[in-house]
C-alpha cells in the first residue's frame, strides 16, 4: 500500500522524475534517488564515451591522455573482454592482452572470488621502455606504450622489466602447432607451413599476416588500447563488449570526460602505486 507521504513527494518532483533521474511518477512506486556515483543514470556510458572520444580526436595527439578505468564492483567475471580482445587482435594461444585474474579468497563459507581485469597499465613512468636496446617499444604521443614489431629483436628485456606481467612473448604458437610443423618434418619439405598461419590482424593500423619467423612472431606483444580502433573513433574492444559495463575509456585531459570524473573519486586506486610507475589504468574498488 502506498504511503501518502511518498505520494506527495512524488507529485512534487514529477519533473525530475521524468528527466529520467529518478523513478517515473507511479502511484505505488517507492522513491529512490539515483546514487551519486551512478554513471548510468543519464545516458548509456558507451554513448557518452564515444562522443568524448570523438571530441578528443579533434585535439592533437599530444593534447590528449588516454586512460582506462576499470570498476571492480561492476566486473562480473565473464571474461568477455578477454575474448573480445583475442578476437579483435587475432591473438594466438598463449597470448592474452587482457586476462581477467580470478582469485579465490577466504575459507568456506567466508569465501569469494576476486576478478581483476588486467590490461597493460600504460605507465607514465614505464619501466619497460628504457630497457629496450633498440627503442622498439616506446610511449607514443598519446601516452600509449607501443611495440614496433619491425624493430623488436625479441630480447624480452621489457618482459622482465614490467612489474605487471603485461607483456608476453610471441613464440609463434598456433592452434595448429605440431600439426603443420610436424608434417613439414616428416615431409622434409620446406614448403609446408611457409605461409600465414593465422589471420591478419590490424594492430597499430597495419595489416600484418602471421607468417613463420616474421613479426609479430618472435616479438613481444602487449595491449595497445586498440589504437587502431581509437583512430577510427571507436572505443577499445574490451570497453564496448563488457557486459557489466565495468570498463571506461577516455581522455583524462578533458575535464568533462567520464574518465576524468571517475578518477577523481575517492575509491580509485592503481596497481603497485608504490613503484611510482604512474599507471594510466585506474581501478574503482
Amino acid at each position: 500500500m502506498s504511503e501518502p507521504k511518498e505520494a506527495s513527494i512524488l507529485t512534487k518532483v514529477a519533473s525530475e522524475v521524468f528527466a529520467g533521474v529518478i523513478a517515473p511518477a507511479l502511484e505505488n512506486a517507492p522513491l529512490i534517488q539515483a546514487a551519486e556515483d551512478d554513471v548510468l543514470a543519464k545516458e548509456d556510458v558507451l554513448v557518452r564515451m564515444e562522443r568524448e572520444l570523438k571530441r578528443a580526436l579533434k585535439k592533437t595527439p599530444a593534447e590528449r591522455r588516454w586512460v582506462m578505468v576499470i570498476d571492480l564492483r561492476r566486473c562480473v567475471g565473464c571474461h568477455a573482454c578477454t575474448i573480445a580482445c583475442v578476437a579483435e587482435n587475432k591473438l594466438p594461444p598463449g597470448i592474452v592482452y587482457r586476462p581477467v585474474l580470478t582469485e579465490e579468497i577466504g575459507k568456506y563459507p567466508n569465501v569469494t572470488y576476486r576478478f581483476l581485469p588486467k590490461p597493460c597499465m600504460q605507465c607514465e613512468n614505464a619501466p619497460c621502455t628504457p630497457v629496450c636496446p633498440v627503442n622498439a617499444t616506446y610511449t607514443n604521443e598519446e601516452g600509449v606504450i607501443v611495440v614496433d614489431y619491425d624493430q623488436c629483436i625479441g630480447c624480452r628485456a621489457c618482459i622482465s622489466a614490467c612489474p605487471y606481467a603485461s607483456r608476453t612473448f610471441d613464440f609463434g604458437l598456433n592452434y595448429t602447432d605440431k600439426t603443420i610443423d610436424g608434417l613439414a618434418m616428416t615431409l622434409g619439405s620446406k614448403q609446408a607451413g611457409k605461409y600465414e598461419t593465422a589471420g591478419a590482424a590490424f594492430e597499430y593500423g597495419e595489416r600484418r599476416e602471421r607468417k613463420h619467423e616474421q613479426s609479430p612472431i618472435g616479438n613481444v606483444r602487449k595491449c595497445h588500447f586498440c589504437l587502431h580502433r581509437i583512430k577510427e573513433g571507436i572505443l577499445p574492444a574490451c570497453t564496448t563488449t563488457c557486459i557489466g559495463r565495468a570498463t571506461f575509456f577516455g581522455d583524462a585531459n578533458d575535464p568533462d570526460s567520464l574518465v576524468s570524473e571517475l578518477i577523481a573519486k575517492p575509491n580509485v586506486m592503481r596497481l603497485k602505486e608504490d613503484l611510482g610507475t604512474e599507471p594510466r589504468v585506474y581501478y574503482l574498488v
Binding site: M1, A14, F18, G20, I22, A23, P24, A25, L26, N28, A29, P30, I32, A34, A35, D37, D38, L40, A41, K42, E43, D44, L46, R73, R74, V76, G77, C78, H79, A80, T82, I83, A84, V86, A87, V96, T102, E104, G106, K107, Y108, P109, V111, T112, Y113, R114, F115, L173, D177, K178, T179, L183, S189, Q191, A237, T240, T241, C242, I243, G244
Partner: protein, 945 residues
Amino acid sequence: MSASTKPNAISRRDFLKLGAAGAASALVLSKFDHGFRPISSAQAKRALQQNVRYVNTACVMCPAECGIRVKVEDGIASAIYGNIYVPMNTNGICAKGAAGIQMVYNVNRIKYPMIRVGERGEGKFKRVSWDEALDYIADRLIEYKKKYGAESVIMDAGDVTDRDPYWYLFRAFGTPHVTEHGAICDTPRRHGPKLFFGGKRVEPDIMRPVLVRQPDGSLKNDYSYRTKLIIYAGWNPFTATRINYESRGTVEAKLNGAKIIVIDPALSNTATKADQWIPIRVGTDADLFAAMLRYILEHHDDSNPLRRYIDWSFLDYSQGWEEFLAEFKSWWNKTDPINGKPYFTLEWAAQRTDIPAEKIAELAHTFGILKPAALVWGMNGIGHHYNGYIASILGVALNVITGNMEVPGGAIDTELVKSDKGGKAKGEDFVKREVTRVINGQEVSGKIEELHMDYYGDWPAAWDDVVGDYPRRFLEGVTLRYGPFRDHQYPIKAFFIRTGNPVITGSNTQEWIKALTAKDGDEYRVGLVVYIDTPFLETGLYADVILPEASYLERMSLSDIYPSHQLIYLRDFVIDKLYESKTQYDIMIALAKKLYEKGDPDIKPEDFWEKYPTEEDFWNEALKVAPGRAHCGVPLPYPQYPVNYKLIGTPDSLEAGKVTIDDEKKVVQGEYVTVQWLREHNGVAIWPMSWHRFNNGGVLKTASKKVEFVWDYEVEKDGEKKRQGQYAKYNKLIEAAGETPFAIRELGWEKYAKTFYWFETLWNPYTNPEYAKLAEEYPFQLISGRVHHAMSGTQLVDWLGRIPTEDLWEPFNDDRTIDEVIIGENGPTPSGRKVHIPKGLWCIGVIQMNTADGRKLGLRKGDLVELETPQGFKTRGKVNLVETIRPGVLRLPLGGGGRFSPGLGLTYDFRDISPNANDLTDPSHHSPIMGMPLYADVMVKVKKL
C-alpha cells in the same frame, strides 16, 4: 621450392618426348571443364575494392540471442560486436558472442547432407545430395504416417527459438509433437509462474534502459535502478549469461543501493557481487521458501511499518488466496517424519536447509520490508529438482503477496510482457484439424492435438509443447489415456532433432543411447533419426540423416528473449550460406515439396511455397502479431488508445496514430512490423515500458485475468457453472477417464492439486526418509553448474576453451601432444596429425569439491576419481579441491565433460578425464508433473582411481 633444386633436370627434357594423352584427353575435355567464368573488368574491379559493411543481427551462441553487429569484409564475417540499440544487451556481448566467428568458420561444421552407412553410433556416413537426403526422409515419413499415423513423428527444435518453420511443417504434416529443449530443462522452475500468471519466468526489473512515456507525451529512455533487494536462489545470471542485462543490471542495482542475496550450494560468480551468500543444502529451496512464507504470515503486522510485510493490494488482482493460505496452513500442525518438527517452522527449515533459524528469519524479514524486491530462482538449481514445482509456486506467492510483482524495481514475468511473435507461422491451426483413428476396432475422431503423447498420455499437465518423458517413449511407445483417443497406441518412429544434443543434455546418456539403438529384429525401433545442426555433436552420431543447417550468420529469424517489455529484433542474413547448408525456411520448403511430390495428402502448395515464396514472407507473417500484448500499465504506453486493447504494429505507426481501432475485437491495429522495417530501424522494434501490468487483467494469461492462487475452481457465468484454473482442464480429463497419471499417483494424488501442495524430492537423504539410509555409503549430493561457454556445442570454439569458470572448468590439462581424432573407418580414428596443448592452456570440466572433503578422502587437487550412484551409474573426472562449495556437495559442469563426439575438437580429447553429469542421472524417475529428468537429485560415492 623443389624446382630450385633440379632446374636442369627438367630443362634437359625434350618437349617432344613428353607424353600427350590423345583421344582420352579430348574425351575428358568435352565433359569436364574448369568451372571458371570470365567477368567484366568493371565487375572485377568492383569486387576487388575492399568492401566492409556492418549488419545488425541476433546471436545464437546461446539462447540468450543478444543483439549483435557483425563486421563483414569482402563477404567474410570478421568480427562480432554488440548492437547498442537492443536493450537486452545494449552493446555488451559475452565471451561466447565475441567468439562466434570460430563457430561459423569452424572446420568441424556440418557442411553437407549425410546418410548413415554403418550402425547408429559408429559415425559412418555417406555424403549425399539434398535431394537424396530429403527422398530418404520423405519416404519414411510417408510410410510411418500410413502405418502408424503422423503422431509417430517428433520434431524437437532444441534450444534456439527460431524454430517456427520446422514446427509449421511438422504440424502441417499432421503430428502434434513439435517441441523444444524446454521440454527437458527446468520445467519445474516455470511451473509456478504458469499456474499463477499463465507466464514462465520471474526476473527482476533491471533491464535498462527502458523506454517510458513521459507526462509531456514524449518517450524517454529511463536508466534508473529502483530495486532494493534481489534474492537469487539457485540462479547465476553472471555465468549463465542467459539474461544478458542481469549482469550489469545486478551490479548497477547494487551500486544504487540494492541488497543482493545469493542462495546456492556453490559460490557462483553472481555470489561474488552479493551482500550475502547462503550455501543452502542441495534440494531444499522449497523448504526455505516455505519457512519464509510462514514467517511472513506469522509476523506480518499492518500497524507496524517494520512488520508490514504483506502488501494487501495484491488482493485487487488476485483470487483464491484464502484457499491457498488454508492449505498452506494445514501443514503447520503436521510433523515432519525426518526431523520431528512442525512443517515450515524456522527450526524445521533450519534442520533441512542447514541455514540457521535466525538467518532464515532475517531473510524473510528482509524480503518482507525491503521493497521493491525480486525473488528469482534458477535453472540448474530449482529447475532441476523433482519437487522444484513447490519452490517455484512458493517463490511466486512470496513475490505476489509482498506486492513486488509489476512494481518499478520489483519482479516481472518476462513471458507475459515480451512481444508476441510467430502467429500463423507457428502452424497451430494445423493441429486443430480433425482426424480419425481406429481404437479397439472402433473409429474415433478428434483433433490432431488430442493425439499428443504427453497431454493425453502420462503427463497431461506437461505444458508448453513439452515432451518431457524422453527417451522412455522411444522404447515403450505411447498409450493415450485421456481425451477422445483414449487407449490409442502408437510407437515413436521418427525423431527429428534440430540444434539440440539430448544424448548429453537430456537425461541419462546411456539411456538415450539405448533408446536410439534399440532394435526390433533388424530394424531400429525409432526408424528414422534426423539431426539438423551446424556443429556435429553426440546425438548426430546416432542419426540416419544429417542435415547442415546454415549458421546463425547465414539465416533469418526473430529474437525476443526475456525482456521487461515488448521488443523484438531481427536475425538477418550476414553472409552467404556456406557449403551446402540451408536455412530453416529452405529446409521447410524443400521437405514440404518432397512430401507433396510423393503424394502426402496434408502438405499443400498454398500453405507453403505459394503462401511464403520468400524467406522474408515467412518472417513477415511471424511479425504480424507483434507486439500483441494488452495495452496497459502505468505510465500507459499510448495514452491515446484504450486500455487493455491489443496493440499490433510498428512503434512508429502506433506513435503516429496510423491505426484502425476495432472496438469489438479490442485491437489497435497499426502497420505490421516487417523484416524491412526492422532493417531500417537498427534491427529492433521497441515499444514503451509500463508497470502495474497486472491491474485490471492487463497482461495476465489466466482464465480469470487475475493472479490465481487456485488452479481448479468453479465459476458461474451466465447461469452456467464452469471449471477454471490451470489444472482444471487436466483434472476434467482425468475424471472423464477415471485414471490417474502414474507419476502423481506415486505422490498419493488422484488429480492435480487445487491449490498449494507439498511433496519431497527424490535421492535426498536430508528431506526424504527413504534415502536417509543410503547417506552413509553415498555421502555426496551432486549438482551441476553452467560453464560460461559450455553450451553443448560452443565448446568446439578454441578461444573459449582457455577460459576457466567458477572452479568447474579449469586448466587441468597436462602438457599433452595428442593425436587428432576424426571419424574413421571404424568409428573415431587418429588422423595422423598431432595437436599440442601446452600445460595450463586448455580447460576441462572438473569435479568441484570442498577442500575439507578432499582431505578426508585423502585426495589432492587434480586427482582422478570415479563417482558412482546407488543405481550403479558412473562417471570420472579430476577433482578440484576448493573452498567455494558446501562440504558434502559435488558440482559438475553440465555438458562439460565426457564428450565423445570428435566434432567437438579439443574437448573430445580430454573425455577420459572429464565428467559427464548425465552419466549419473536417474533414468527411471521423472519429475512428477512435467516428466522432466532429475538432473539435480543425485547421490554419489567417490573412489580415487
